[in-house]
Assembly symmetry: C2
Homo-oligomer: 482 residues x 2
Amino acid sequence: MDAEEFRRRGKEMIDYVAEYLENVEQRPVYPDLEPGYLRSLIPSEAPLEPESYEDIMKDMERVIMPGITHWHSPYFFAYFPAASSYPAMLADMLSTAIGCIGFSWAASPACTELETVMLDWLGKMLQLPESFIAGTDGQGGGVIQGTASEATLMSLLAARCKAVRRVQTYTSDKSEVEIFSQLVAYTSEQAHSSVERAALIGGVMIRKVPTDSNYAVRGDSLKKMVEEDKAAGLIPFYVCATLGTTPSCAFDQITELGPICNGENMWMHIDAAYAGSAFICPEFRPLLNGIEGHSTVGLNGFWYLKIFFCLSTPVNRVKKRTDIIGAFKMDPLYLKHENQESGLVTDYRHWQIPLGRRFRSLKLWFVFRMYGLQGLQAHIRKQVALAKEFESLVRADKRFEICAEVVLGLVCFRLKGSNELNQNLLKKITNSREIHLVPCQLSGRFVLRFVICARTTESRHIQQAWQHITQLTFELLQEPNH
Amino acid sequence: MDAEEFRRRGKEMIDYVAEYLENVEQRPVYPDLEPGYLRSLIPSEAPLEPESYEDIMKDMERVIMPGITHWHSPYFFAYFPAASSYPAMLADMLSTAIGCIGFSWAASPACTELETVMLDWLGKMLQLPESFIAGTDGQGGGVIQGTASEATLMSLLAARCKAVRRVQTYTSDKSEVEIFSQLVAYTSEQAHSSVERAALIGGVMIRKVPTDSNYAVRGDSLKKMVEEDKAAGLIPFYVCATLGTTPSCAFDQITELGPICNGENMWMHIDAAYAGSAFICPEFRPLLNGIEGHSTVGLNGFWYLKIFFCLSTPVNRVKKRTDIIGAFKMDPLYLKHENQESGLVTDYRHWQIPLGRRFRSLKLWFVFRMYGLQGLQAHIRKQVALAKEFESLVRADKRFEICAEVVLGLVCFRLKGSNELNQNLLKKITNSREIHLVPCQLSGRFVLRFVICARTTESRHIQQAWQHITQLTFELLQEPNH
């Protein structure tokens, strides 16, 4: 394919993409097929000779589209949003075309420098304390991680490294691995599974702190566990607090947890993967109070910031950048460059698990500028209002109950009655393929999660979804076994 | 931006991208600016109100392009290739538009199933043993990792988990962390820095095995270290062999290393990040002999397979899939789905560090089909021929020497003389900005690496590059201090 053909096919692809996104609500949101469906539809080996572009595009509708769960359908209310936007898509095309790998400043200075400044923009939008801003001579700064899981893992590894160094200053005879065996991390019993996984990867113990009736971790519960563990000879070193948990969007009490972390020399990481971007609205910013004086914040722009998750999302803000860099610095000759010791440049490879990295900050730049802060705030407020609208519909129906406070775009609800009843309702919903939800468990109860996801979801979709749920409920309750 | 405006801007962007790639050789390949250049060119905060699209695109040339190291310029000979292609770019647009997050089969069945089949296609192209193929009931299979570093890390973590389980079967009183402290991994002294970093992350010891005169690890060197370590009470558990090292594209002798790994119950991972894709050519496939009977192979399609690195590259082939999955399986309710216990589906989140993942296999599908196996082989052969052409130019000039065998697209060369002389030559090259190279160190000598990178590099660029290097050499040798 030469440049001329690319110009033609590329423009056709733009039309295909626009068409897909404009009409995605007409497709069944969840696919109707059995595992293994795809293998029989395509050859078992790659072709020897080139195939035609037309044939490949025909296969999009024959092979791929029937197997897609349409995350951008306005009837998709599952998991969390993977929102995208037209400006982000344009920036993505540019990033692919430039195709640089930004593991060091020299590998593409613009790639590194735009990221530093964009994360300062974001830090200011979030009104983070000055210590989190890189500026021209700051010690803080941010990095765009590939996913929230990686942001959490990096913070845990940096904390582990810092703890080992600290312990070795007063017990120099202890080996690193001996110290690992004494380290203990903490997170909420409601925390995302990736936090536990980070501890597993890092080879350290993790304890799950029980939550209060709002599914939030409180200071006294943490304090109690820390005291017990210290008495047992362990070394508490890391707390991952969550602002906006996955099951119910609960908010750990970081104003209570912070002082405990400071007193015990524990690194505090805040996982705000879902809720974080909402803090650019002044009315939600108080949820982030207590961040002052702590180590890292993981944010995830994929929901509200309309940026596709893989490229531009979780921001691992580091208060003291040397804490992160020191943990994993490696400098083979082929990656050295003459400016790296100047103190002026950032080599982001020291801040993350992978070596290579895309030019991800282009998306932030396009989106921030094409929406403006006010446009982004308006989008967040609209999504929250739609969730409130759904909440009101649920509350008005006496057969249902709301299971957790609705703060942002997630509504946890269930039919009053058994878990089995709710499992059957969800099964009906899934099989109908008109809307898509996933469940969670809260206090042993099976709960349905309804999340405003797509950029194009409007009031009419909410109303339609609720009508559909009540219709299926009506049918379910008619069945003889209920 | 609505769909209509996206159609217009998208088509303009296609033209911009085609224009950029067609004319990239006219831009200086390496930027001429000081660290911190970008901050003063843009505002220090995000705008409140939306800005116009025209203004943003104007800033591409004013702010971004002057700071780009052009990886796709035919005069870029540094690091390793980050090759892209027009078909891959089109697939990338589709992947962004669909925008699903494929952490489980249910989250988008096509995303998971196409990946499984595409990695089988790749496995067959590479003539991997049947045990590496997923098929309809196989235990093997592959996963597309974000980067080669992650492929290596995942294999090390899986090996660590397997080793702990094995040791605990005969010494059940030992804790996991106690066992960690005895584990020892091995890799070449020439291995990529990410291997050492993986061990650091996993909290296990790693030892660097010395290489022979071809910079390859041999069986007897590994054997000796393993024996020493066992005698010291350590537990050898993991070997990362490299096929195509970063400094000189050396090939560890896996036919010698394999039997040692099998005899000692060590997991063998093959990092073929650079060279791996070349094995689709029969004439290079013998370099992979010895893979039979081993655990994982990390490949990295970004060079020869013309797929941009972040999305579709290193393949972590697992011979026994449960070994990888078992290491990190976590199943919160919100990620469960009814087909997951059927044994028919793959939930790739258990195979990687991040939870979320893009629809990366679309790129493989487009590229395999639009080039065909023969087209990809032809591309590889062309790149290798260009490297050989450069090698001949160097060999014909008595002032220079070739420092390692030229097997694929990398030529290691230097001026006969001091390291300082070669450092000065590289400095002149870098400052001229006409071509771009990076150095490496081989046996204490400062060596220049010349790698065929861009898809559009032709013989005339090689000739031009060599003429430029000899001109700078002439100037350098005229300087009074030489």
